[in-house]
């Protein structure tokens, strides 16, 4: 386990270093962009002197190693730099957006876990339903989040008008109570969550199905059936409880898919979360913001992978012991 943790820390360091060095080693100069609108090569109208001044102001004239150590020190203190577009610290801008994304991601994980497990549990003893569900989930697994999103947007939100088209809450609306506000937020987040959950449910379904099938062969199940226990009780108490560990690990492994999915889904639904922030930062060439956002998702991913391994190791240990 220590070895795995060390490995993940190394991975994170490599990603961190790449995130720092890549933009600096690539051709181009941020000062060229400061006055060019479309990012074409322009001198920005600065004289050589002014450019030198700006370079030393942003610390770009120092050797790369020194810049790296300085940035590292700042990042360790929790400072991710100053966002150029939002004109405030990146960490603050990210924190403002984070709750939206975390809510969508968390809810989508929960919904897809529940839906995948329920479908697998329902199908596991019925070959025909199983075959149909397997086909449906195989197709769903191939669909990228933005396609599902666009289709839902057009048919459920656009044609039927059941859900709002975009945004995190109704603009300019004054809420009379906390519940009204919560309902509005929930209503707006329903489609993004559904889209993301549809993309992740197949993974849970396949994992759940495989571990249910192994649980089915265990002798204790025959015992339970011989006792004449109700079907529901057998499913919940005997099959589901005994296949929880791989599902829990899968939940943490799915965080990676969720991180990529939210970027697309939030842009489809113009949802004010971290994914949209990334897209906007790219559009405005807001480099500190892009890098801060990137580091955040890399850290989230490494932590969740470690949790998945930790849970896996624990489950194995219990089985051995």
């Amino acid at each position: 386990m220590k070895r795995r943790a060390l490995q993940l820390v190394c991975v994170f360091i490599v990603i961190y270093a790449a995130n720092f060095f890549l933009p600096r080693l690539m051709p181009g100069d941020p000062l060229q962009y400061t006055s060019a609108v479309s990012g074409e090569d322009m001198d920005g109208g600065y004289s050589a002197e002014q450019r030198e001044m700006l370079r030393s102001y942003y610390g770009l004239d120092r050797p790369l190693g020194e810049q790296f150590l300085k940035t590292l020190g700042q990042n360790l203190r929790g400072e991710l730099g100053e966002s150029i577009f939002y004109k405030k610290p990146v960490s603050q801008a990210l924190l403002e957006r984070a709750p939206w994304s975390l809510w969508v991601m968390g809810a989508a994980l929960a919904v897809s876990l529940a839906a995948g497990c329920a479908a697998a549990l329902w199908c596991v003893q019925k070959p025909r339903a199983d075959r149909a569900a397997y086909l449906v989930f195989s197709v769903l697994a191939e669909l990228p989040a933005f396609l599902t999103g666009v289709l839902l947007l057009f048919f459920v939100a656009g044609r039927l008008g059941w859900f709002p088209l975009s945004g995190g809450m109704t603009p300019f609306l004054e809420y009379t109570s906390v519940w009204g506000a919560l309902a509005d937020i929930l209503w707006h987040s329903a489609l993004p969550i559904l889209t993301l959950a549809l993309g992740m449910a197949p993974g849970f379904f396949f994992t759940a199905r495989a571990s249910f099938l192994t649980a089915l062969e265990k002798p204790f199940l025959l015992g339970a059936q011989a006792k004449g226990l109700a079907r529901m009780r057998i499913r919940l108490q005997y099959i589901l409880r005994n296949s929880l560990p791989p599902l829990r690990a899968k939940a943490f492994l799915s965080v990676g898919r969720a991180v990529g999915g939210t970027v697309l889904v939030e842009n489809v639904f113009a949802y004010p979360g971290l994914g949209k922030a990334l897209r906007e930062a790219v559009a405005y060439r807001d480099y500190p913001m892009i890098q801060g956002r990137f580091l955040l998702s890399a850290a989230l991913l490494c932590i969740s992978l470690f949790c998945a391994d930790l849970l896996g190791a624990k489950a194995e240990g219990r089985e051995l012991g």
Binding site: L147, L153, I290
Partner: protein, 272 residues
């Protein structure tokens, strides 16, 4: 060949033929306006026109070749890199294995879409950037599978026997390992093609693909960002064709990969 594989092949050939015919013989170009804006489908414009008056069917056909080109390039790179590095990690000794496995681990851990966005933003938007970024991430899973298979092959009895008879590494590879590894490699690289097409579409949807090339993702993005598209009829001929083509492409590539797997890699059933 199984029935599914035949269907997948037929679907691919049909799509390729229609699109080739569209590029060669269809009268309207895919780059410049050829009619009024937002014309509904008619005899002259088979699938209507978009907001700039550019023919949709022509764009769909051009998009097929750019999407497939990116998919095939990424699949080919994943085949070469994944195969070579996977085998190198599997039988190249401990140091090579540790180093290559670490690189794979980094690529598998790094958040893919954000990295692609990062590269697209910093390196500029071009087809080649998309190809190599997609390939960069798709060889790692292929290499991981190939490495695992190579390692397990190394321990097999017949390989040790061949080695003790003095067979060189090239002979070992050609006559003993290639037959086991190739099907795995082909099936997994084939799956990369479908994934690459989708990833290009996702990037195009975020506005990070080559702005001059026609691609399905970009058509979807343009349509969705058209003001008031939800309250008009335009989506019927503007949105549905690219979405349908994307779905179809992904499904038949996936179906073909799965059927090939059934045929070639029959022994191990990874999907159950």
């Amino acid at each position: 060949m199984t029935k599914g594989a035949k269907w997948a092949c037929a679907a691919f050939l049909l799509a390729a033929l229609v699109c080739l015919g569209g590029v060669l013989f269809y009268p309207h170009p895919a780059q410049i306006p050829s009619g009024d804006s937002l014309e509904p489908p008619s005899v002259s414009h088979w699938l209507g026109t978009d907001d700039l008056g550019i023919d949709i069917f022509a764009q769909i056909c051009a998009g097929f070749f750019s999407s497939m080109g990116i998919g095939l390039a990424a699949g080919g790179l994943a085949f070469l890199l994944g195969g070579a590095l996977g085998i190198a990690a599997g039988c190249g000794g401990k140091a090579a294995d540790t180093a290559l496995s670490f690189v794979m681990e980094v690529l598998l851990t790094a958040p893919q879409l954000p990295v692609m966005i990062l590269v697209g933003a910093f390196l500029g938007q071009s087809m080649w950037n998309i190809v190599w970024v997609v390939a960069l991430f798709s060889w790692a899973p292929v290499a991981k599978i190939i490495r695992a298979k190579t390692v397990s092959l190394q321990q097999s009895g017949y390989l040790r026997l061949a080695k003790s008879c003095g067979a060189g590494p090239w002979a070992l590879f050609c006559s003993h390992m290639a037959r086991e590894l190739m099907p795995l490699l082909c099936v997994n690289s084939l799956a990369v093609i479908g994934k690459a097409v989708l990833q290009e579409a996702s990037l195009a949807y975020l506005g990070l693909s080559d702005p001059l090339a026609k691609s399905w993702g970009m058509m979807i993005q343009k349509c969705v960002s058209f003001r008031g598209i939800y309250f008009t009829e335009y989506w019927k001929w503007w949105l549905l064709p690219p979405v349908g083509m994307l779905l179809l492409t992904v499904l038949y590539v996936r179906l073909f990969a799965r059927e090939l797997e059934k045929i070639w890699v029959r022994g191990e059933n990874r999907y159950v």
